[in-house]
Symmetry: C2
Subunit: 76 residues, 2 copies
């Protein structure tokens, strides 16, 4: 039984996510695992030029591939 079904107000940081493949614009990403405030893992990217924060969908293919590449530590 999730918190939401108990009527508990959840506070996810991301309201919407960017679906376009913006990998080349991203300098860092922050992973926020599902927790007592939000049922979903959230990914917040910081963009290179503007330092703007953009929410990404963890289920989207290019996001998964990007995280995998970061973890494999290859720049290509």
């Amino acid at each position: 039984m999730s918190l939401r079904s108990l009527g508990v107000e959840l506070h996810c940081r991301c309201i919407q996510t960017e679906s376009r493949d913006i990998r080349s614009l991203i300098s860092t990403v922050e992973l926020i695992p599902a927790n007592s405030h939000c049922d979903d893992t959230e990914i917040i990217a910081t963009l290179k030029k503007t330092s703007q924060k953009v929410c990404l969908n963890p289920k989207v293919h290019w996001v998964k591939r990007m995280i995998k590449r970061f973890m494999s530590n290859s720049r290509r």
Copy 2:
């Protein structure tokens, strides 16, 4: 030929990494991919209670499993 071999001064944020499995203490993690300033992907965790920043080694098994779990969006 890496930048370091060209004698270019690299500026990684992490000087040392935490090897103990501190998954239960972590609220978020920031992934900084290898870039012109640093040859290595860096992972900086923020701790729950103190908001302290701790560097993690991307090659360590429990770190890889943690990121994988975050991406699979399961709380367990």
